[in-house]
Amino acid sequence: MSGHRRRRWVVSVVTAVLVAAALGYLIDDQLQARHRYDRAHASLGVTRHQTGTISTQLAGLRRNLGLLTSQVGSDTTALNQDVSQLQGAQAALAAAEAHVSQQSSQITALRTCLGGVERSLNALAVDKQARAIAALQSVSSSCSKAAASG
């Protein structure tokens, strides 16, 4: 083998080795890239599945929250109405109790007054004027009170 040919053979071999090495590297690198892809793809699948699940759950939670918020709104309205009714009823009760109390005082005054007027009538009917006057005087304040509240 001549030197020229030998050199060409060496160059060719070296080139072939270099090409083979480059190819090897590229193939390995490509395999790693595919491996990365596969892992990322698989993870992406899991993530997307979880995203779907969470999205569904979140939608349910938001519906529930919306329902609860709506209930709170209607309950707040109802409570306000009930409180308003209660306040009205309490005011009416206070007024009714005051009225009953005033009536009781009036009844007491009327009864006292009636008793005195009857005693006065009976005493005057048998000409016991002093007793008649005394009977009237003893109930004069009750009669005034009864007349004022009547």
């Binding site: 060719s12 072939a16 480059a22 190819l23 590229l26 690198d29 490509q30 890239a33 595919r34 990365r36 892809y37 990322a40 793809h41 993870s43 992406l44 993530t47 997307r48 979880q50 995203t51 969470i54 759950q57 979140l58 939670l61 938001r62 529930n64 929250l65 609860l68 209930q71 709170v72 309950d75 109802a78 409570l79 009930d82 409180v83 009714q85 209660l86 009823a89 009416a92 009760l93 009714a96 009225h99 009953v100 009536q103 009844i107 009327l110 007054c113 009636l114 007027v117 009857e118 005693r119 009538l121 009976n122 005493a123 005057l124 009917a125 048998v126 016991k128 008649a132 009864a146 009547g150």
Partner: protein, 429 residues
Amino acid sequence: MVAAVTLCAGLLAAAVWTDVTAHTRARNEETALAAADAHLATLRHDAALTNYAAAVTTGKRNALQGSITTTLGQLATTNAKLSTTTAHALVQGASISTLQTCLGGVQKALGQITAGDNTQAARDVSTVSGPCSLLDGGTNAGLVYPFDFPDPDVILTGQTYFAYATNSVAGNIQIIESTDLTHWAAVGNALPGLPTWAKPHYTWAPALAQVGGNFLLYYAANVTGSGKECISVASATQPQGPFIDRSTAPLECQLALGGSIDPASFVDANGSLYLLWKSGGPGSSKIWSEQLDAAGTAFAPGATATVLLTPGQPWEAGTVEAPDLVTTGGRYVLFFSGNNWDSASYAVGAATCSGPLGPCTDASPGPVLSSGPGVAGPGGPSVFTDRTGAYWIGFHGWVPGAVGFPNNRDLYVRRLTLTGPVPVVAAAG
């Protein structure tokens, strides 16, 4: 050679291209994964926030619903109280109306008495009898006339009941009338004038008798100058009066015994007429009987007064008075009052008698009618029959809590049973 070079170059170029493509896909996928992870994290965060908000809102809702329940409970309680109070106010309003009506009538009567018109005064009170009855406890105890009507005598003439009583609002002797024993209306003053010997304002305890076509009114009047009561008689052609007394002296007058009061007439089965009365005061009281003449205006010739009853029972406390004699089934039953007339201890007793002139013995150791629900100190008994022949007893009584003159002694009537050895007065209610 060239071909080999070209092949190698081609192989290398293809390898580089596919490598770059693989890297690009891997990066793209990793980018997508990162974005998806970020999105997932965001969603998880949102879900956590939403969960928290839901928990807070649930708590708020539960608190609100608790408040609503509490408020509704309070509202129900308040409404129930309001309902009760309103009903109470209605009842009290009715009571006030009743009181005002009754008081109005009594005040009018007082004005008429002051003006000297007893008849109108009696009518004024009579018109408010219904409301005043309610105030005196209603009709359960037998209350029928809620005004001062002491020592009553009740009779039935035709279809009408008449009741007479001691002087008060209507005048010397009060008359009221009824067709059903429940509703009574004022008639007026049975005795517009008094005999000259009688002092006004002390005409007590009337008793009626029908003799022939005449109505006789026995009553007690104060003998001027003596300070004592004695018995007289007036007559009329109708039960409403007016009864006229033309006497110049009392019919019966036991001044030495403290006077004579509480007359009662009695007609025996044979038509004989008797007068019963009471003499004396506490400790010396006696119930007497004496036959009257046929006209009933004087005692029968030769007749003498006989003591029927003296106090003998502890409950009587030394006083027997206000007699009323009735005969049934061949038996004679004497009703009378005992104890202090001005107290709740006053009561009605009964004795059985052999005849109109006695002797009499107590039918029971205690009274047959005493203070009870709706009446205090019942007295002045008057036994009569209704249209069917059934026995009734009329009597006066204080309203419990208003005992003693000048409070009212109201008129009561109750059924009476005389079939047993002891008379039975129907219980209140």
